[in-house]
Amino acid sequence: MAKERLTGAQAVVRALELEGVDWLFGMPGGTILPIYDALYASKKLKHVLIRHEQVGGHAAEGYAHATGKVGVCMGTSGPGSTNLVTPIADAYMDSVPLVAITANVSRALIGTDAFQEADITSITMPVTKHNYLVTDAADIPRVMKEAFYLARTGRPGPVHVDIPKDVLQAQMDWEGYPDAVHIPGYMPPLREEPRLADAAALIRSSLRPVLYLGGGIRTGDAFAEVFEFVELVGAPAVTTVHGKGTFPETHRQCLRMFGMHGSKFANYTIQNADLIVALGARFDDRVTGKLSTFAPEAKIVHLDVDPAEISKLVTATVPLVGDLKTLLPKLTAEVRRVFEARGRPDLSAWWKRVDEWREKNPLRIKQEGEVQILPQTAVRRIWEKAQGRNPIVTTGVGEHQMWAAQFWEVSKPREFITSGGLGTMGVCLPFAIGAQLGRPDATVIGIDGDGSFQMTLQDLATAVDHKLPIKIFILNNLFLGMVRQWQELFYEERFSETPLSDCPDLVKLADAYGCLGLRARTLEELDGVIDQALANDKGPTIVDIRVKRDEKVYPMVPAGAPLNDMIDGD
């Protein structure tokens, strides 16, 4: 291939095109100008001008989550890059494939406390899978290739590339985009064969097995493989919040989410198990409760792509390290062989107990006799009306997120997008923007809270600019509700700084941004506004749903309590 002279910035844009990027999210500034100038000439890349870099980062995450592709966001030096730290950290905790590109001040100015200088690679180091400070324009093709490769392979995650302005302006010889990467220490081959026979033997001999499904199934794109495995084993399956949609929640074997706000029947089931098969999950404190009391009789089979997750918190009886999509079918085949040779285990007594728990402790909405709208009712009504419309739901973080997790049943992958690990308020709108751009045919529905929504609402402008028909339902209780709930339950009702004023007027706000704003104060108004929102395909809709202010999320396992020790508010 003939050499071509490009600037560093042109090389970045060329690499993005060759990576097949369609949407990218960012905002220009002084130092990143060369990239935006090169972008001006690109016919393939579509840039979304956000109003705050944090939103660009989260929108790229939403895009990645909804499509399975790598999300891309950009920011200029200094504040443009520090504003990206939250989405980068969010992507790190939730294993979202993300490439964040920032510019920095010119090499001669680095270290001089120059205008809009920040040592951003030091700042993002602990919250990225890897990061780069590019000091030679000739390195750009290799670095970009590695960045995308690292972001999407193994355990996906964010990769940050920081490029000084003079490197972006420098001329380099473009000698083609590398076909492969050479990173000698990345994902070394395993020293031991996976112990599939041991895992299958445990599954065969278990009388009380539970399958614990996590977000790694989504990041590993192993939905079909998991479905086959779960049906073959025939055991109850519980999910994490990111496990929602990795197996249909409408399936008889699915006991839904477990953990702090999981269903009682899911928590009882896992606590009484004699075997837990964890698939792409990491035993987070929000699902295990007090670790020393977690599933005391259970042996653990732990399958994960990240060896460092094995026995980090809960010791694995049989560790299986590997990519779910290739390793799980091998386990399925091994289990099938054992079942054929020795017969299936009789799980009927176990299922009888599980079904009894499910029967006696359903997730309930106590709307009857209640005049105000319960937030759970709102979630359920929106869910009912969204069926058949190819819905994707995004949430913020707080009570509304947990109500959505409890009452928004997901039957297909990539339909429930939330911030699980970092718990970042304000992500609902940006996730919705990214998801809608990535999946234009889907009906993107946001379930947000009034506190959460106000953290990023300025980017309604972005959604309006792109005429995105997203529907953001704000379960408005005029509180920082989840914190208020903890204050009521654990801080003697001392509501320190959790009441929010009735400001802004969300309907007027929507109007100011040029989108549809609706409000429901009563149950009678609820159905109508949902219908109106779902019918509006011209642009965003903001729905202010006034819900009962002191409604709480139940059941609840207090932080640090055993998983079967649940408060249910009765």
Partner: protein, 177 residues
């Protein structure tokens, strides 16, 4: 930094790493130890037989976490090519120590004799002070340091442990260029 001989709780482990010789690698590794709550007892880094790689030896003190967890977390860092715990019975370890002692000249002969016992040498002498250089396993240096204390130690500088596995085994994986 803490002395390797004092282990009020937990155990020390010697971890050997081969890392890409790139800017920021030390920062990445030190940062990992900080954020995961592992205590570094000593850390050394230096060049290897290949220009592109550096070798680090880290002595880590762990109270509750298994050393495998530390090794796996280190292996996840992209510039870390290979990482392994070197077990005590299977390694050669050395540390370098310089000790400055302030003591009248009449004690120097006694000091020289003591140094000789520990295969240490005197590398700087002035009328009322001298510097002792010693090399060896940490335990030997600890013992020497204890004996030297009687003469009045002014400063101690220790390099931290470096170590190699015994026998023909090497840390570099076979596929390394």
């Amino acid at each position: 930094m803490e002395r390797t001989e004092t282990r009020p709780n937990g155990s020390t482990h010697t971890i050997s790493l081969l890392v890409e010789n790139k800017p920021g690698v030390l920062h990445r590794i030190a940062g990992l130890f900080t954020r995961r709550g592992y205590n570094i007892a000593s850390l050394t880094v230096g060049p290897t037989e290949r220009d592109e790689y550096s070798r680090m030896t880290i002595v880590v003190r762990l109270s509750s976490k298994p050393v495998e967890q530390v090794v796996r977390q280190l292996q996840k860092l992209v510039p870390v090519v290979e990482v392994r715990e070197l077990v005590p019975q299977d390694l050669v370890e050395r540390e370098l120590m310089l000790v400055k002692i302030r003591t009248p000249e009449r004690n120097h002969a006694e000091l020289r004799a003591l140094a000789e016992t520990y295969e240490a040498i005197i590398v700087d002498v002035s009328p009322d002070a001298l510097v002792v250089e010693a090399a060896g396993p940490a335990g030997k240096l600890d013992a020497l340091e204890e004996r030297l204390a009687a003469f009045g130690i002014q400063e101690v500088c220790r390099s931290g442990r470096i170590a190699l596995e015994r026998g023909f085994k090497t840390l570099a994986p076979p596929n390394l260029k």
